[in-house]
């Protein structure tokens, strides 16, 4: 239901495209189908790995590693776990909010969420498929560096560093 605007938008676009050039419109659909079919196995792979990770590593463990002890250890594990995992936003942020309540610094939380969203070992297969090994590795390394910088700046603003 919430996607009704999106669907209407696409339907209108295709309607206009159809009127302009039927053959090209058919080609577009064909191209869309091909892209979809190439994409789906990798996507299912990611989802399965995510579900398995979430199941095998319960929330408690994550909270344990990131949520107690000295700040450097927390930061290290936040970055490490965040890089390895690909959690959807609606699960990640409640966990982050829980960590916040436990008193974890914003620095660690920023590191955690940023690496989770930007860097991903789980997303390696699909990124490698589309862009090749080198870009995948370099982009993720830079992503990690960026995440650390962002987290440090945020920690600075919250007077934690």
């Amino acid at each position: 239901m919430k996607y009704i605007f999106l669907y209407s938008f696409v339907i209108i676009l295709y309607f206009l495209a159809f009127r302009k050039n039927k053959i090209k419109t058919a080609l577009s659909i064909k191209r869309a189908l091909r892209g979809f079919i190439i994409f789906i196995p990798y996507f299912i792979q990611i989802i399965l790995l995510t579900a398995i990770t979430l199941n095998v590593i319960p929330d408690k463990t994550i909270i344990n590693y990131i949520g107690s002890g000295n700040i450097l250890k927390n930061a290290f594990f936040a970055g490490a776990i965040g890089s390895m995992i690909f959690i959807p936003a609606f699960i990640a942020f409640p966990i982050a909010a829980l960590l916040l309540k436990k008193g974890i610094s914003y620095f660690v939380i920023a590191l955690f969420t940023t690496t989770m969203m930007l860097v991903g070992i789980i997303t390696f297969p699909i990124e490698r498929k589309y862009f090749g090994w080198k870009i995948t590795v370099y982009r993720n390394i830079f992503g990690l560096i960026i995440s650390i910088i962002i987290a440090v700046i945020i920690g600075f603003f919250y007077n934690e560093i």
């Binding site: 996607y3 999106l6 696409v10 295709y14 495209a17 090209k24 080609l27 577009s28 659909i29 064909k30 191209r31 869309a32 189908l33 892209g35 979809f36 079919i37 994409f39 196995p41 990798y42 996507f43 299912i44 792979q45 990611i46 989802i47 399965l48 995510t50 579900a51 398995i52 979430l54 199941n55 690909f86 959807p88 936003a89 942020f93 409640p94 982050a96 909010a97 914003y106 920023a110 969420t113 940023t114 969203m117 930007l118 991903g120 997303t123 699909i126 498929k129 589309y130 862009f131 090749g132 080198k134 870009i135 982009r139 830079f142 992503g143 960026i146 910088i149 962002i150 700046i153 945020i154």
Partner: protein, 178 residues
């Protein structure tokens, strides 16, 4: 090798179905939870998938290469437009970085500058609209805005650096370039 790749999908998906069926038949609790969790995630993102690929299809067939190269290409005349476009496009993304890869690849194939593609990829991870709303709800507006304003320049900066390494890079060329 070619034989393997062709049947990879079918084998993979059959294996999944077999595993989940076995999990239910043998009442394997862990397996069942994993199945439900996966189905949950999958259904969360599924409504958007066909739409995104339909849009990519239209983009690939109808938009001329010259248009993209003129507006988003390596020429340095309209820098602000290029990066703004990349960030705005990325903010419209829903459901994770995985979905950003096909779109980024389509852009690259059409001749967009790698700086733009990398900015889009980076921003697709960090600057999504629905994610920003979530974040503000759970972690506070100050945190969200702070993260946003530090992330965007850094993403662009990293994109420029990555561009120096990877200009003119072509992997995964499908047949039927346009």
């Amino acid at each position: 090798m070619k034989f393997e790749k062709k049947y990879f999908n079918i084998i993979f998906i059959s294996a999944i179905i077999a595993f989940f069926s076995a999990a239910y038949i043998f009442d394997f609790q862990r397996g069942q939870t994993i199945a439900l969790l996966s189905a949950d995630f999958f259904l969360e993102v599924l409504p958007v998938l066909p739409v995104i690929f339909l849009l990519i299809g239209l983009f690939e067939i109808f938009i001329k290469r010259s248009v993209i190269i003129r507006h988003l290409g390596p020429d340095t005349s309209n820098i602000v437009v290029k990066y703004t476009f990349a960030v705005i496009l990325a903010s419209l993304n829903v459901g994770g970085m995985a979905l950003a890869f096909p779109v980024a690849y389509a852009l690259k194939k059409k001749g967009a500058d790698m700086k733009v593609v990398f900015t889009y990829l980076g921003a697709a991870g960090l600057v999504r609209i629905n994610m920003i709303l979530f974040e503000a709800t759970f972690l506070g507006l100050k945190f969200t805005l702070l993260r946003l304003f530090t992330a965007i320049p850094l993403i662009i900066f990293a994109a420029v650096i990555l561009n120096k390494y990877f200009n003119g890079h072509t992997e995964f060329s499908e047949k039927g370039e346009c």
